[in-house]
Symmetry: C2
Subunit: 405 residues, 2 copies
């Protein structure tokens, strides 16, 4: 077994750990749910509240370029996902952006009525797809593909496919290029949800010939709880689509105060309401931090962290425990999912030992190894804690409130 | 002319002024656009960033009740607008909430296809109405009423009326009860936009028998730039409607991770994506401050502030200047709009004298007299500055960059 301390000393990313506020005694492996607080964000938000809002007041829309924040931060996110600066806009939540794209695309292709999504996708993707198709009417509906059978179910009735790049549960990385090309051959379009990949693994939208994507700001972009989300529309599509939520900030001239909606040129038309400046300040700080990190080193490190964890667990404890998702680390995002029939209990006991993971019903535990703030010592400590908890829980039917020694 | 200092000494609301961060030497009369920073908000946001996000991390969704914030803050807003606690939910932007309500209501009443709105309404109301009806299709469309003729244009083709309670431009208060009843007689529904009234003047949704409303958090609720918005649905309607943006947070059991969308009971179904916690912290602080203020005293004070301003201006300078909107102060919200052919220039020169108002094309200046932080001395100083600027500008064609002595 490799020495975690030696690996940490040799880690080319180790300077990044100090960029985050991490509570003492905690091994935080829940970045798949909420990324931790970057230290710089504290000052950035305070600056925005006290100096910009407090002192500059309404003039800050121009003087501090609040009005430009959605496009400016979008351009920074673009560098993380293989897009051009004018192809990414920060706006709303992932759910709302997904609705806007689904509605815009299904209205633009009225001859097809099926939206294809895999069963077991991230809930909001499935649920927004259902609500959007129902609201648009005219027989539009969602078709669920069985897990692993998404590509096979794309046919000439499918207008649109919605798919996560990395699956929230089993961490599998989907082949964006292959699915996009399969869809294109069938005359269908694909919206990619990058929530579990952007900022975590290499994402190359142009390389995958992707036209549409959405993603959240609060996981691997470290933008804060409920951070604003973003959407990507390739340049060739931007002016062919109408934003169904045609709010004033997507108008060609928002401050002309005219009756008629006239969409802004390019992606700006996909803005709707007034952008949330305090939340954007936090998101921008998180995104800037992520943009400073070298992507290849991040990929190599998360793979090593995952491998160390799994080796250290499975070397000592296999009974009742199995890996969910791909065996090959190169096919996984930055999290590892393990199955155990007492997963909920194990996660609760791990938390008492300071190891934060999460439980997904009925039997999955997720451990995210985000490479900028997770050390090899963390990975080893998490593995040791899991082995200890497994030994304690054993075959006994402990309640979630039972003490772990 | 009444003595401003004496009026300030006798002001029952004067203790509230110290609750706001106001830059020295500035008379801030642009609360109709962005409310100033409440002092308590600085600590509240820092607490949320550093202690809740930074130290509690993902567990804060439960431990600090982040998950309950949209309904909790909604209940506090309800006390300001004459609604019950479970009838108001904080979510998204005003534009997105308006879209959700328009789509839900027009889908629920498919036999009528017209959405009625007044020409010259606040832009996002007009623009979202146009986008939503176009997206819903089936011949649905927007009909524009001429200004002042909204009630007369409600007929048996109208499904829905969208109207601001207080007009953003001329400050006129619409008679919510009369318009709601007129609509009901014609079989139509009304969505009220409270953005320019809630937190500023008395709003009584129950008294007006109103069923639907939306509003923003960043004007008179002092929730910060681009603060989250809210929506109101009367209890009788909540379970009869479907949210077209059916995101996971509106699901009956968001963390069950099942394929099928099943709407939450009551208003909770109108949530969509993950709520923006940092922005909500600022909004909650602002709303709490507003809820501490006595409403009757606020109304009386804003009327007195407006009267002092107008008397002091018009006693000395009438040429080329006129009041836009109602003569009777009781028919206005908290702002006053004046017309002058050089309004844009006047507003720019006023800003150099430290009086912040705003310009709306082609010829309107708006001055908001929000009663919690505006003093009678402010009102007098603004009037004096306007008189001074009018004397300087006079009939001469000064450029916006010309100096005012």
């Amino acid at each position: 077994m490799t020495d975690p301390a030696a690996l940490d000393r040799a880690d080319p990313l180790r300077r990044f750990r100090d960029q985050f506020e991490l509570p003492r005694g905690v091994v935080y492996l829940a970045g798949h749910s909420l990324g931790p607080l970057p230290k710089r964000t504290v000052a950035r938000v305070a600056q925005t509240v006290q100096n910009e809002w407090g002192r500059t007041l309404v003039a800050a829309w121009d003087e501090h370029d609040w009005i430009g924040a959605p496009a400016r931060i979008g351009a920074k996110i673009a560098t993380l996902i293989g897009a051009d600066a004018d192809e990414v806009l920060v706006a709303d939540s992932t759910s709302v952006n997904l609705f806007k794209l689904i509605a815009a695309l299904m209205i633009a292709a009225p001859e097809r009525r099926t939206l294809l999504i895999e069963s077991g996708e991230f809930p909001t993707d499935m649920h927004v797809a259902q609500g959007a198709t129902a609201a648009l009417g005219r027989g539009r509906q969602v078709r669920f593909a069985r897990q692993g059978q998404l590509a096979e179910r794309i046919d000439e009735n499918v207008a649109l496919v919605v798919a996560s790049h990395v699956h929230y549960r089993d961490a599998r990385i989907r082949d964006m290029l292959a699915i996009t090309q399969r869809a294109r051959e069938a005359g269908a379009l694909v919206i990619w949800d990058l929530s579990h990949s952007a900022g975590a693994i290499l994402v190359d939208l142009h390389g995958a010939r992707a036209d549409f994507a959405v993603g959240c700001g609060y996981k691997y972009l470290n933008g804060g709880p409920g951070a604003p989300a973003y959407l990507y529309i390739s340049r060739q599509w931007q002016e062919r689509l109408s934003n169904p939520i045609s709010g004033w900030l997507g108008h060609a001239d928002p401050f002309s105060f005219v009756d008629s909606y006239n969409p802004a040129a390019g992606l700006a038309r996909f803005a709707s309401g007034t952008p949330p400046i305090l939340a954007l300040a936090a998101l921008e700080a998180g995104v800037e931090l992520m943009a400073e990190a070298p992507r290849t080193e991040m990929t190599l490190k998360t793979q090593a962290l995952q491998q160390l964890f799994l080796d250290r667990v499975f070397a000592r404890r296999r009974a009742g425990l199995s890996l969910l998702g791909p065996e090959d680390v190169r096919e996984r995002g930055v999290h590892v999912a393990l199955r155990h029939k007492r997963a909920e209990l194990l996660v609760a006991h791990l938390a008492r030992l300071g190891v934060i993971s999460d439980f997904r019903p009925p039997d999955a535990m997720r451990f995210a190894f985000a490479p900028l703030y997770t050390s090899f010592a963390d990975s080893a400590a998490a593995a040791d804690a899991l082995v200890q908890v497994l030994q304690t829980v054993g075959g006994r039917d402990l309640s979630p409130t039972a003490k772990v020694p």
